[in-house]
Amino acid sequence: MKRMFDAQLIGPFAAMIIAAAVVALTTDSFLNPGNLSNLSLQVSIVALIAIGATVVIFAAGIDLSAGSMVALLTMILAQMLKFMGIPLVLAVPLILLTGCLLGLFIGLITAYGRIPSFIATLAALIAFRGLALTFNNGSPVFSLDPALETIFYGSLLGIPLPFFYLVFFYGLAAFGMNYTKLGREIYAVGGNPAAAVLTGIDVKRVQAITFAIAGFMTAVGAILMAARLNSGSPNYGQTLELQAIAAAVVGGASLAGGRGNILATLMGAMTIVIVQNGLNLNAAPSSVQNIVLGTIILCAVGLDMWRVEISAFTRRIVGRRPPPGKAG
């Protein structure tokens, strides 16, 4: 059965190490403590949102709404802190709740309304961005709360706080996926929804829950985004949903559902951020960065799809002869 650490982690882990090695060799500053801690800050928002994106993908859905939801939630947070006088300690859980409910809403629409999640979340992607613009006449709100910044820039024992968020949420997600009934049901629904129905799994409920989880993780990302810049803006989070999906895919999650390891998504996100960091350190223009990112996604999925052919090819090179036996 699936356990937290299994063979599915080897590929994404190797990719991450290779990316890190290449960047470390081609730049002087990659291994500086300052750069490494910057790296964990950079990866945190995408990687946390990618948890939700991956859980949705495990259940054979897709969530395109995360980026716009980030913008909407930062604007709601700004509204609360700046204009409604709600204290930070109350505003943060309220945002988490709002994200969770928005996700649940989308989940209910796709699961019970039978609208494909691609369409439902595409609609949400557009509508949430519009909704974000209805706050503060569509202008960003700055200087929300000095305490908000500590959520992102604070540190404990010299380690940036976002590192702990990553450890906490990925630990929780990996535990949930591998050691709970819900986690197993998510894999089952993604693997074969028809069989899941016939085994008594409430498929629609499970699908709706994955979107609620995604909404919650998007809210976590939104709070970090607002904290990072101490502001809310209807322009935040552009293409963040695609980066999150890319992290899941580079980590080996199958878009057909049912297959993948949540911890591999963290490695996928790390790989992407390391490559971006390497290109930054080498002063590559953003055009090159995007081309490289696209190529990585293609290669990651390609390596996965062509696994059989690649292993057959290597076998031919090595030249092992098959022993006789029963055939299919």
Binding site: M1, R3, K181, Y187, G191, L198, A327
Partner: protein
């Protein structure tokens, strides 16, 4: 009549780790139906793939009228007049029947536009020749599995093939459709078509086949030429040992009624169905395809809403809003199509076996994976499920192992009433016997089984009583021992000739 159309000479094909075909030689005569038999994994599929151009042999020759040829791809096979009806359908469900029949060769009129009138007229002609009544405009996906299979065969008929390969063509067909197909094949045979017929159902092999080749472990073990072999010899040759009792039926039925249906009706076509299922009993549902057997299963299982009647379980009235309700109440359905509706291909055996009973594995909110492993490993050893399934996902397993896993799921759960819809379809003899043993094990444990099967011999041998279905309702429920194969065929096939059980009628 007896000129060789195609000759396979010493064909070998190896896959990584396996020699799938080991110097296989077969001569396919024009105007002859050649049965190709063997257990799953014996190399039949490999041979078919070679013949239909899907793959190339490593060595050996294919001779067409004595001349060596290559069949580099499926198009080449088609050009040579070789049509293949694969077990896995290759029809497009979203296209009409007519389009599917001529897909890839749609007749064009002026300006290169598809001549739809000709498509449908020609398709109707082909279907009429086959004596099949399906409208050519119907969307293929809306047809029953059996009708889809006939459309699949119609494609081969339409291309006027000189040789036709049928891989388990009757797996999804009812008795009357099988007979229709056989009539069609006999017609093709008399017109000089070479036919290669692969089937797991030996009763029909006996009826239709002129000569037989039996494969085991990639080699030809019996090549009969024009001679016929007796069925027990075929079975022994396929398995490689004396298999003993083909149907190891145990009688475990008691008088205690577990499930009772009273006057069930649904929109799907179930009409006024009443039946009582006893503890430890196997109640067989017989009847032709479309007679309502699967529909009864859906009605009992909460898939289709009842428009009338009620269900009594252990003396209490129950109403199932959906499948989950039925499963919670102790019902289970092993669906007809295990690949589409039964298995989780992303899970190993244990994940598949425990999927319906996860709640029993939860300790303080956490799945007890160690308990899961221990329990499933014991069950797998008991049921002789390949140990490979322990750490490989189930798509790597044979059909027999897959089916055992689907049934094991309900052995692991506390389901008390199991509906088995065609549980031995497409699996080999050895695995079939294993499934029968499994049915005994279920009834011995006090569970009750509703068995749906198109294999009459199996239904007669493994059921305690049989309900003969016709037009969505139960014509009679009779003691299986009092029924012969002919009674059953006649009872389910004709509407005018009701079943007359010989000694006495069993209580309903």
């Amino acid at each position: 009549m007896t000129t060789a159309f195609l000759e396979l000479a010493r064909i070998s094909k190896a896959y990584p780790g396996v020699l799938a075909n080991d110097k296989v030689s077969i001569t396919l005569l024009a105007g002859s139906i050649h049965g190709l038999l063997g257990e799953n994994g014996c190399g039949k599929s490999t041979l078919i793939k070679t013949l239909s151009g899907v793959q190339q042999p490593d060595s050996g020759d294919i001779l067409l009228n004595g001349t060596p040829i290559r069949i580099p791809d499926p198009q080449a096979a088609r050009r040579l007049g070789i049509a293949t009806v694969f077990q896995e359908f290759s029809i497009v469900p979203t296209l009409s029947v007519g389009e599917n029949i001529f897909l890839g060769a749609l007749p064009r009129g002026r300006y290169g536009v598809v001549d739809w009138r000709k498509v449908h007229a020609d398709a109707a002609a082909v279907l009429a020749e086959m004596d099949v009544d399906i409208p050519t405009e119907a969307l293929t996906g809306t047809l029953s599995v059996g009708e889809q299979q006939l459309v699949e065969i119609a494609k081969a008929v339409a291309m006027d093939a000189r040789m036709i390969i049928l891989d388990e063509p009757t797996a999804a067909l009812g008795e009357d459709e099988i007979e229709r197909l056989h009539t069609l094949l006999r017609g093709m045979r008399s017109r000089g078509t070479a036919i290669l017929y692969v089937s797991h159902r030996l009763d029909e092999v006996e009826r239709i086949v002129d000569e037989v080749t039996i494969l085991r472990n990639g080699r030809v073990v019996r090549a009969s030429g024009e001679m016929k072999i007796a069925i027990p010899d075929i079975v022994n040759a396929m398995v490689g040992e004396d298999v003993g009792e083909h149907y190891p039926k145990e009688r475990n039925a008691t008088d205690e009624v577990v499930l009772e249906a009273r006057g069930l009706s649904t929109r799907a076509g179930v009409r006024d169905v009443s039946l009582a299922l006893h503890r430890g009993e196997v109640l067989g549902l017989g009847g032709v395809l479309g007679s309502g057997r699967t529909e009864i299963a859906r009605a009992l299982f909460g898939t289709d809403a009842l428009t009338g009647g009620d269900i009594v379980l252990d003396g209490k009235h129950v109403r199932f809003r959906n499948e989950s309700d039925a499963i919670r109440a102790g019902l289970a359905l092993v669906p007809e199509n295990r690949k589409v509706d039964g298995l989780f291909f992303n899970f190993t055996a244990s994940g598949n076996i425990t999927a319906a009973s996860l709640a029993t594995l939860v300790r303080r909110g956490v799945l007890d994976l160690a308990a899961e492993d221990t329990a499933t490993r014991t069950l797998m050893r008991d049921l002789e499920i390949s140990a490979e399934a322990e750490d490989k996902t189930v798509n790597f397993l044979s059909g027999g192992n897959q089916q055992k896993i689907v049934i094991a799921r309900w052995l692991f759960s506390d389901a008390r009433v199991l509906i088995l819809d065609e549980p031995t379809q497409g699996i080999d003899i050895g695995a079939k016997i294993a499934v029968y043993t499994l049915i005994n094990r279920l009834t011995r444990a006090g569970k009750s089984v509703i068995l749906i099967s198109s294999d009459h011999d199996e239904l007669l041998a493994m059921s305690d009583r049989i309900a003969v279905m016709r037009h969505g309702t139960i014509a009679r429920i009779v003691d299986a021992a009092s029924l012969t194969r002919n009674d059953l065929v006649r009872a389910s096939a004709s509407t005018a000739d009701p079943v007359r059980p010989r000694p006495q009628e069993a209580t309903v």
